[in-house]
């Protein structure tokens, strides 16, 4: 990642990150709010526009790079993490964002996503999750609810859905977070945190598709219910939620979580620790799902581990030190040679 140095970089504004292209998402799409959030956060990072690349695959969300006035690559279905990896390894100084969706990232591109995360390539991956295929007009996606009726599953989807956060934590991602299209301040906070993370930052964004899957997140994100249905994570703070903040989460002796009523006294509750190295607790958090539990938003996991690009650079340096910088003469004459005169 490029060094953040806001004092030296020319002061950029949100406008600097808006491209000249008309935004072509359906009116009312959750993508607009996410685009606005990113365009707000970008100038704060102090990174010049030319050092930023947005890479996407295929799907509604993957139109994103066209709307950012940075470098952008709208690639093919599911392959954005792989393309972004090639860019990052060639130019480790660039900051690279991958924009993907539940179909692009978890279905056709699932393999690239998990391997990118396990390698810890320094990429920021935003997965817009609307639990439907929008661009192809409404088929079931890998995050669609079991039994959901769509064009391709008129009698109900037989699939069991993926939980993107569990996939990320299962792949040992070093940064895993979740936010919501309509919660602008929280969204911007999570984006900033992802930007600051060194390594693969995976962010799931609850996003509404008002045409093919309207209201899919309503039951947890609606103003009236959200304080009971969402668990806002803060590092070092106990897991407390609810309108009155009178509910908390603790572990039973059998290592399963339970909700308990609290009355000011948070002792015995789980205290959020995003920096724990082992994934067990973070995985448990990722499994908290409505209606039994509130769904966690915020940063679940943020641990610093060497990134693939750092290790690659380091290895190259070591070999160069041991063997000397290569030259063609040495290359061609490697191995056994003989002279014919």
């Amino acid at each position: 990642m490029t060094q953040c140095n806001p004092e030296q970089a020319p002061k950029l504004t949100r406008k600097d990150f808006i491209s000249d292209q008309d935004v072509r998402w359906c009116p009312g799409c959750g993508d607009y709010a996410i685009l606005a959030g990113i365009q707000r956060v970008m100038p704060e990072l102090g990174i010049p526009r030319e050092k930023i690349v947005f890479v996407s695959g295929i799907g509604c969300s993957s139109r994103f790079p066209y709307y950012m006035n940075t470098y952008g690559f709208h690639s093919i279905h599911g392959r954005a993490p792989a393309i972004a990896t090639g860019i990052k390894l060639t130019r480790p100084d660039l900051m690279i964002w991958v924009i993907t969706g539940d179909g692009d990232g978890l279905s056709i591109g699932g393999n690239h996503l998990i391997h990118t995360m396990r390698r810890n390539v320094d990429l920021k991956i935003l997965l817009f999750n609307n639990r439907i295929y929008g661009l192809t007009k409404g088929q079931t996606s890998p995050t669609s609810k079991h039994g959901m009726k769509t064009k391709s599953t008129p009698f109900g989807a037989l699939d069991r859905p993926f939980n993107p956060l569990s996939v990320a934590i299962g792949s040992a991602a070093t940064f895993v977070a979740r936010s919501i299209d309509i919660d602008s301040p929280h969204l911007q906070y999570v984006l900033r945190r992802a930007a600051d993370h060194k390594g693969t930052a995976f962010v799931e964004l609850y996003q509404n598709c008002n045409v093919f899957n309207d209201g899919t997140w309503e039951s947890v994100t609606d103003k009236d219910v959200r304080s009971d249905r969402l668990l806002v994570l803060e590092h070092g703070k106990p897991l407390v939620f609810g309108k009155e903040r009178k509910k908390g989460i603790r572990m039973r002796p059998d290592m399963s979580p339970e909700i308990v009523e609290i009355d000011g006294n948070t002792s015995g509750l789980l205290v959020h620790d995003e920096r724990r190295h082992d994934e067990g607790y973070h995985f448990m958090l990722s499994r908290l799902a409505s209606p039994e539990f509130p769904e966690p938003i915020g940063v679940l996991r943020a641990v610093r581990e060497p990134t693939y690009d750092e290790l690659m650079t380091e290895q190259g340096r070591t070999v160069s030190q041991q063997q000397g910088k290569g030259n063609l003469e040495k290359l061609l004459h490697a191995g056994e040679t003989w002279v014919v005169s």
Binding site: E50, K51, R79, I87, H112, H115, G326
Partner: protein, 636 residues
């Protein structure tokens, strides 16, 4: 063993007479675990140092360790060496060294009558004989009476030689190959000392094993000297070889080194995204040794990620190369379309193997030409080139890189299993003689558009992220001419399709004209591409020696083809296209040039033999002669 020219009796009671040979083909064959590849490469090194010209080919099974003694587990290595120019590893062995009955069973059909068999009789046990599918011992039942058989109990000899060295039975068993090597060193009069040094170097980490192998090697050598089994020893005089420094090189090594060289000549980092696949993996292995040459190797999670990462690297300013074989090629095709649409430089190496599907992973074939030229959705033109020999892989790798970066296009480089693993002595080029590959990244934002084109080549500018003031977006959707914004406009699409085709077509002006081996006109032109070069050239050479008006045309550029191909073909009465497929180049030539060419096909996972091409050519020429005779007869 042909061409015995002179026989000289060496003085001294136990010295055998020395026969001079022009050319020899030796094949070592044994179980996969018998170390035949090592034996072959060690012998080859020594042959090169003795000054012969040579070519080699390993033939190993797809199974890493098939059950010992079975037919599936047989591994072989053939070396052809000569005092004349060598074009192929040889049609058939003169000497067949077999370490077990299965190796004999598999390889005997290739040995001509009168050929030499050196067999490890110690491994011809009843179970091994049965595993090879023999009902009785072929060494004893008279079935080999038309060959010269030398049955030696190598197993026992090695065990005796290594007695008391404190080795396990398994370790002793693994020294058998060096015994066989020692015997060959004696037979062909190679010096022992050099090999002993080589063994010591090879087994540096295990001096005990090094000594054991040297002992076995010497035992083999001295057995030849003492046992009075062989009536003569042989010597192949040095070949007339262009002066220079040489190394032994396989096609895969030459490909890897060629790309590193190309990147250095272009002052670009080299990025190779790859996924392991036979027979291409050695290119990745070789490249991975060179991080200090600005080489980034990335072993991706799959073939698609390998090409996708490479496209990303090219976008970011690297020389992007991805290496694979047919099945991987199939997986990469959508991404190749992206590279064509975004007009980024990309080189894809396809080391072809037998297909379709998993096919024959370790065997050679040339059946991916259509896939390379046509195998994508949409009008998706790419450049296709093919190296002709293992050494030529170096030059064609540079050629691929040069075309890709100059024309901002995709280049498919079609090697094959035969080139990849085949080896030949390769004369090292003078570094100073290598031409730089000019690359300019556009950095001037004034008047910049992503799809502005260089008027000559139609290449669009290469702008790498990180360049201030030139932020822009590219992708797989159709682009508006010049401007580069997404466009679904009907006429614009046709225009862009035509521009992309024209861009590739124009490369014809920058590639060398094709040259004919032999006369520029005649009765028969044999056209080939890729690894058939050696067999076709040697076949034409021998046909010409016999007075036939035959020439050869070898294509290294397949799309576009050199400008003079049509005219060359028109200068011959007949055109024969010999390829290891059912006629893919044949169909392309017929379609492009309306030439009534005929095909000669071999799809056996094995390269053409010289004799097969000679016979086919004779058939075509003979048919014509017969027709002429008929006319004469009628006239009489």
């Amino acid at each position: 063993m042909s061409d015995i020219e002179s026989t000289q009796s060496a003085p001294g009671g136990r010295q055998r007479p020395m026969s001079e040979l022009e050319t020899v083909v030796v094949r070592f064959a044994g179980d996969s675990g018998d170390g035949m590849q090592l034996t072959g490469t060690e012998f080859t090194k020594s042959i090169a140092l003795e000054g012969s010209d040579l070519a080699t080919f390993p033939d190993y099974p797809a199974e890493i360790r098939a059950p010992a003694g079975t037919l599936a587990g047989v591994s072989a290595y053939q070396v052809h060496f000569s005092s004349q120019e060598v074009f192929t590893p040889g049609d058939q062995p003169d000497v067949l060294v077999v370490m077990n009955p299965a190796a004999l069973r598999i390889n005997l059909p290739d040995l001509p009558r009168g050929g030499i068999i050196i067999a490890n009789v110690g491994s011809f046990t009843q179970p091994n004989i049965e595993k090879a599918g023999y009902t009785s011992n072929p060494l004893e039942n008279g079935s080999l009476s038309s060959y010269q058989v030398f049955a030696i109990d190598i197993t026992k000899q090695v065990a005796l030689a290594l007695e008391g060295m404190g080795l396990t039975a398994k370790e002793v068993g693994r020294c058998k190959n060096f015994y066989a090597l020692g015997l060959m060193f004696w037979l062909y009069n190679h010096p022992m000392e050099r090999e002993e040094k080589s063994i010591r170097a090879k087994f540096q980490k295990n001096p005990k094993l090094a000594e054991a192998n040297i002992t076995a090697f010497r035992a083999g050598y001295y057995y030849g000297e003492t046992a009075e089994l062989f009536p003569t020893r042989y010597v192949v005089p040095p070949a007339v070889i262009a002066p220079g420094t040489y190394r032994h090189i396989t096609g895969n090594e030459a490909t890897a080194i060629g790309f590193i060289t190309a990147a250095q000549l272009a002052s670009l980092p080299l990025f190779c995204g790859s996924y392991p696949i036979t027979p291409a993996s050695d290119i990745l292995h070789t490249l991975a040794m060179y991080p200090h040459y600005d080489v980034i190797t990335f072993q991706a999670e799959d073939e698609i990620a390998a090409v996708a990462a490479t496209i990303g690297a090219a976008y970011a300013g690297a020389l992007g190369v991805t290496t694979t074989s047919g099945p991987g090629m199939a997986l990469k095709s959508e991404a190749i379309g992206l590279a064509v649409m975004t007009e980024l430089p990309l080189v894809i190496v396809n080391v072809q193997r037998g297909g379709p599907s998993t096919g024959l992973p370790t065997k050679t074939e040339q059946a991916d030409l259509f896939q390379a030229v046509f195998g994508r959705n949409g009008e998706c033109p790419v450049v296709v080139i093919a190296p002709a020999t293992p050494g030529d892989c170096f030059w064609m790798a540079i050629e691929a890189a040069r075309i890709a970066v100059r024309h901002m296009c995709t280049v498919i480089y079609l090697s094959d299993g035969y080139l990849a693993n085949g080896a030949e002595p390769w004369r090292l080029p003078e570094v100073a003689s290598l031409q730089k590959i000019p690359v300019t990244f556009r950095t001037d934002p004034q008047g910049f558009y992503p799809y502005l084109r260089e008027p000559m080549t139609l290449a669009r500018p290469w702008v790498v992220p990180g360049t201030p003031g030139m932020e822009h977006r590219i992708g797989g959707l159709e682009k508006e001419d010049v401007i580069g914004n997404v466009s679904y406009e009907a006429n614009n699409h046709e225009k862009m399709v035509r521009i992309r085709a024209e861009k590739i077509a124009r490369i014809v002006h920058e590639i060398p004209e094709a040259t004919v081996y032999g006369d520029p006109s005649g009765d028969l032109l044999i056209v080939g591409w890729g690894s058939t070069y050696g067999a076709i050239t040697q076949a034409v050479k021998s046909l010409r020696r016999r007075g036939y008006r035959v020439s050869a045309l070898h294509l290294r550029h397949l799309n576009p083809m050199p400008a003079n191909v049509g005219q060359i073909m028109a200068s011959f009465r007949q055109v024969l296209v010999a390829e290891m497929n059912l006629g893919q180049l044949l169909m392309m030539l017929r379609a492009q040039f309306l030439v009534d060419a005929v095909g000669f096909h071999k799809i056996q996972g094995r390269p053409f033999k010289i004799s097969e091409i000679v016979t086919k050519a004779e058939e075509l020429l003979g048919a014509r002669e017969q027709a002429e005779l008929c006319t004469h007869a009628e006239a009489v």
